[in-house]
C-alpha cells in the first residue's frame, strides 16, 4: 500500500473548482515532484493535503497510511505526519523560533500521551540540526520569520521539518527566492531527510531544484489535473519546451 493515496480529488476555492480529479500515489521512501505553470493548482493541492480552511474538497479521497486524511483537522494531520514547507512562510511576532519548535514537538508528545520534552536536550538537538542548515542561534532567538530574508525563511522551514521528522513532506516552491548557494544548503538538508519510511512531494515551477533533489517520479499538473507522469527526463523536456503543450491541452 502506498504511503499517500490520492483518488479522484476535486477541490474548490470560493466555489471555484481548482483541482479537478487528481490521482496520485506515493510509496514510502519515494520522492515525487509536481511541476506545473503558475495558477495550475499546485499550492491548492498542498493546502488541501494540509487541511487549510477555505479549501473545500468536493469529491475524492486522500489516505495516509490507510487513514482517511480528509476526516482530520489541520493539527491532527500534522500530528499524523503531514508537513508542509510553505511557499510563503508566515511571520509570528514575539514567538521565537525555539519556542515555536518546542510547542510543535510538545503538541505531538501530548497527542501521544507523553510528557513535555526535556528543554536542555531539545535545545542541543535543535542547535545541531540548525547548524547543518546554516540557521544561526540568532535566528532561533528571533521571532519566527519576522525580518527574515527569503532564503532564511526557507531554511527555517526545512529546519522545522528536520526537527519534527514527518512521514510525509510537502515542499511548496522551496526553491523560489533562493540563490544558488542557499539552494544547495536547502537541498542538502532535504536530501539528508530522505529515508525509507518518509515520502516527499516536491512542488516546483523550475527544473533547477530537481537537479539537486532528484525525484523518483515527476508529475505535470495543469488546469487542476495531472497531465503527464514520467521519470527525470520529463523535467528536462519541460525545461526545453515549457508548459505550453499542457496549457493548450488544458484549454
Amino acid at each position: 500500500m502506498a504511503l499517500l493515496e490520492i483518488k479522484n480529488l476535486h477541490a474548490t476555492v470560493d466555489g471555484k473548482p481548482i483541482l479537478k480529479g487528481i490521482d496520485l500515489s506515493v510509496e514510502a521512501g519515494q520522492v515525487h515532484a509536481i511541476m506545473g505553470p503558475n495558477g495550475s493548482g499546485k499550492s491548492t493541492l498542498s493546502y488541501v493535503l494540509a487541511g487549510r480552511e477555505g479549501y473545500e474538497v468536493t469529491e475524492g479521497s486522500v489516505r495516509l497510511d490507510g487513514r482517511d486524511l480528509l476526516e482530520m483537522e489541520t493539527d491532527e494531520r500534522a500530528v499524523a505526519g503531514v508537513f508542509l514547507a510553505m511557499q510563503y512562510p508566515v511571520e509570528l511576532p514575539g514567538v521565537t523560533g525555539m519556542t515555536f519548535l518546542r510547542e510543535a514537538v510538545n503538541a505531538r508528545r501530548k497527542a501521544a500521551g507523553e510528557d513535555e520534552i526535556d528543554a536542555m536536550g531539545f535545545l542541543k538537538m535543535v542547535r545541531a540540526k540548525a547548524k547543518t542548515l546554516g540557521v544561526t542561534d540568532d535566528m532561533l532567538k528571533r521571532a519566527v520569520n519576522v525580518g527574515f530574508s527569503g532564503g532564511e525563511k526557507k531554511r527555517n522551514e526545512i529546519l522545522q521539518m528536520a526537527v519534527l521528522e514527518p512521514k510525509f513532506c510537502i515542499l511548496d516552491e522551496t526553491d523560489s527566492g533562493l540563490d544558488i548557494d542557499a539552494l544547495k544548503v536547502v537541498s542538502e538538508g532535504v536530501n539528508a531527510l530522505r529515508s525509507a519510511g518518509r515520502s516527499m512531494l516536491v512542488i516546483t515551477h523550475y527544473q533547477r531544484l530537481l537537479s539537486h533533489i532528484e525525484p523518483d517520479v515527476i508529475h505535470v499538473l495543469a488546469n487542476g489535473r495531472i497531465q503527464k507522469t514520467g521519470g527525470k527526463e520529463l523535467a528536462l523536456e519541460l525545461e526545453k519546451n515549457g508548459y505550453a503543450d499542457f496549457a493548450e491541452a488544458a484549454a
Partner: protein, 485 residues
C-alpha cells in the same frame, strides 16, 4: 501560581513548629449587618481595635464619600450598585464551605487542572479546605518571616502594622492616594478591612519576592483591600499580587487601594496577575474590579514599575500610576489586558512628571475577543519644572473575531517645552495565515491562539518575575479558549 506551588512544597519539606505567627488577626466573630453608615465604620474600627486617629480618618473619608458621585467617564457599563445592599464587614471564615472537591464546579476544576495546580492547592482555592488547615503543622510563613526579620523587612497585614508600626502607617497611609482621591478610593478609605503592609529599610534589598500568598489568611482580605509599600532610601523590593487560578468571591464589588512610596534611589517592582471570576458568557455573576493603584517616586533616582496581566473580572477599572517627583526618577507601566465574552476593561496609567529628567515607559497590550470591550486610557502629564522629561508610550491592540472592540485614549499635557513625549499605537488581528501556520505544525487551535497572543504580549511578559511568567502564559491561552473556530 508558582509561588504557591513553592509554598506547598516547602510545607511538605519543613517540619516542626506550629503555626502561631504570620498574619492571622485575632478577631473571632460575626459580621456587620448590611448597609453603610457611621455605625458600620465604628464597628469595623472597633473590631480591629484601631487607634482614634484611624477611626477619625475613616469617618472623614466616609463623610467626603457621601458628597461624591460615582464616576461614569470610563467606557464600561453596569447596573447601578446599591451600596446599602452590601456587607462591609465579615469575620474571616474559619471553616471550609464545601466538603470535598466533588462539590466544586467542574469547570473551575478543569481550569485548575490546565494551570497545573496541585490537588492540595486546588482544595484551598476552591474553599474545600481552609488555608490554615493545610498550613497547620508547619508554617512557611514563619520561616519566611524570620528571614525577612533578619533583614529588617516588615511584611504584615495592615491591621497588624497599625499596632506595631503606627508611625510608619500614619506617615504614609493616604499620602499617595488621598482619602478623597476618587469615589472608589474614598469608599475604600472609609471601610477597608485589611491588606498588606511592607516596609523595606534603608539600603536593604529584600531577599525574596514578596507575595500575598505567603500571607496565610489572604483569602479573607475582602473586597476593600488596602496595601501600602514603602521602600526607604536605596531599598529594593519586588512584590507579587494575585494568582493565576480563577478566583471566585461572593462579593461582586472590589475596590482596592494600593499605595507605593519610593524614597531616594529606591526601587519597587509591583506585579499583578488578576484573574477574578469574569462571570458567565454574559458576564453574569462576575466581579467588578475598581482599583486605585498609585506609586510616588518621592526620592531622586527612585523607580517604580507596575506590571499587570489582567484576564479576569466582568469589569476592570484600573489605572496604576506613577508620580515622578524626585529628579531622575523612573516610572514604568507594562500591561496585558485580555477581555473575552462580555468582559469590559478600561485600564491604563498616569505618568505625572514633576521632577527634572524624569522618565516613563508605557507598554500596553490589549486583547479583545468575543463581544468584549477593551479600552486603554493613559495620561502623560509634564509639569513646568520637569526639564528634560521623557515618555515613551506604545499601545497595541489585538482583536480576535469581529464583534469585539479596542479603544485607545491617550491624553498628553506638557507644560515644559524641553519634554519629549512619544506615542505609538497599533491595532491588529490574529490572521488566518498565522493560525494555519501554527496548526500545520501540530498546535491545536487553542494552543495556536495562546502562542500568538503570548508573542504579542512578549514585551510585557518578560517583565514578570519568572515564577509568575510561566503560569501567566498558560493563563493567557486559557482566557481565550473558545474565542476562535
Amino acid at each position: 501560581m508558582a509561588a504557591t506551588a513553592d509554598t506547598v512544597r516547602q510545607v511538605e519539606e519543613v517540619t516542626g513548629r506550629a503555626y502561631k505567627h504570620g498574619f492571622v488577626t485575632d478577631i473571632d466573630m460575626d459580621m456587620a449587618p448590611k448597609g453603610l453608615d457611621e455605625t458600620t465604620i465604628r464597628f469595623i474600627s472597633a473590631k480591629k481595635k484601631e487607634p482614634e486617629w484611624l477611626l477619625e480618618w475613616r469617618l472623614k473619608a466616609f463623610r467626603q464619600w457621601l458628597q461624591m458621585k460615582e464616576p461614569n467617564w470610563a467606557k464600561v457599563g453596569y447596573p447601578p450598585i446599591d451600596y446599602q445592599d452590601l456587607y462591609y464587614y465579615a469575620a474571616p471564615t474559619q471553616k471550609p464551605k464545601l466538603n470535598s472537591l466533588d462539590e466544586v464546579d467542574p469547570e473551575l476544576l478543569a481550569t485548575y487542572e490546565k494551570l497545573g495546580i496541585p490537588l492540595k492547592e486546588q482544595e484551598i482555592l476552591a474553599g474545600v479546605v481552609a488555608v490554615d488547615a493545610v498550613f497547620d503543622s508547619v508554617s512557611v510563613a514563619t520561616t519566611y518571616k524570620k528571614e525577612l526579620e533578619k533583614h529588617g523587612v516588615v511584611f504584615s497585614s495592615i491591621s497588624e502594622a497599625v499596632h506595631n508600626y503606627p508611625e510608619l502607617v500614619k506617615r504614609y497611609l493616604g499620602s499617595v492616594v488621598p482619602a478623597a482621591d476618587n469615589y472608589f478610593a474614598c469608599l475604600n478609605s472609609a471601610v477597608f478591612t485589611d491588606g498588606s503592609f511592607v516596609y523595606i529599610p534603608k539600603g536593604v534589598r529584600c531577599p525574596m519576592e514578596l507575595s500575598t500568598y505567603f500571607r496565610i489568611n489572604a483569602e479573607n482580605t475582602g473586597q476593600f483591600e488596602r496595601t501600602l509599600i514603602v521602600a526607604d532610601e536605596g531599598a529594593y523590593v519586588s512584590y507579587l499580587e494575585g494568582c493565576t487560578a480563577p478566583q471566585r468571591d461572593e462579593n461582586q464589588l472590589h475596590a482596592a487601594v494600593v499605595e507605593l512610596v519610593a524614597l531616594d534611589d529606591a526601587e519597587i517592582k509591583y506585579s499583578t496577575v488578576q484573574n477574578w471570576y469574569p462571570g458567565d458568557e454574559n458576564g453574569k455573576g462576575g466581579i467588578y474590579n475598581f482599583v486605585t493603584k498609585r506609586g510616588a517616586c518621592r526620592g531622586r533616582r527612585s523607580k517604580i514599575s507596575w506590571t499587570q496581566v489582567e484576564t479576569g473580572s466582568a469589569i476592570t477599572w484600573k489605572y496604576p500610576s506613577c508620580i515622578l517627583q524626585g529628579d531622575d526618577s523612573v516610572g514604568e507601566f507594562y500591561s496585558v489586558a485580555i477581555t473575552n465574552n462580555a468582559q469590559q476593561a478600561d485600564t491604563g496609567t498616569k505618568m505625572i512628571h514633576l521632577g527634572k529628567n524624569t522618565r516613563s515607559t508605557i507598554i500596553s497590550k490589549g486583547i479583545s475577543a468575543g463581544r468584549a470591550d477593551n479600552t486603554y486610557r493613559g495620561l502623560v502629564r509634564v509639569g513646568k519644572r520637569a526639564e528634560g522629561a521623557r515618555n515613551f508610550t506604545q499601545c497595541d491592540s489585538l482583536l480576535i473575531g469581529d464583534k469585539c472592540g479596542a479603544h485607545t485614549v491617550p491624553y498628553i499635557e506638557s507644560k515644559n517645552p524641553t519634554a519629549r513625549v512619544e506615542h505609538e499605537a497599533t491595532t491588529s488581528k490574529i490572521s488566518e495565515d498565522q493560525l494555519f501556520y501554527c496548526m500545520s505544525r501540530g498546535l491545536s487551535t487553542e494552543d495556536a491562539v495562546g502562542l500568538i497572543v503570548n508573542g504579542f504580549c512578549k514585551e510585557v511578559m518578560k517583565e514578570l518575575p519568572m515564577e509568575f511568567a510561566v503560569e501567566a502564559q498558560k493563563l493567557i491561552g486559557i482566557s481565550l479558549e473558545g474565542s476562535v473556530g
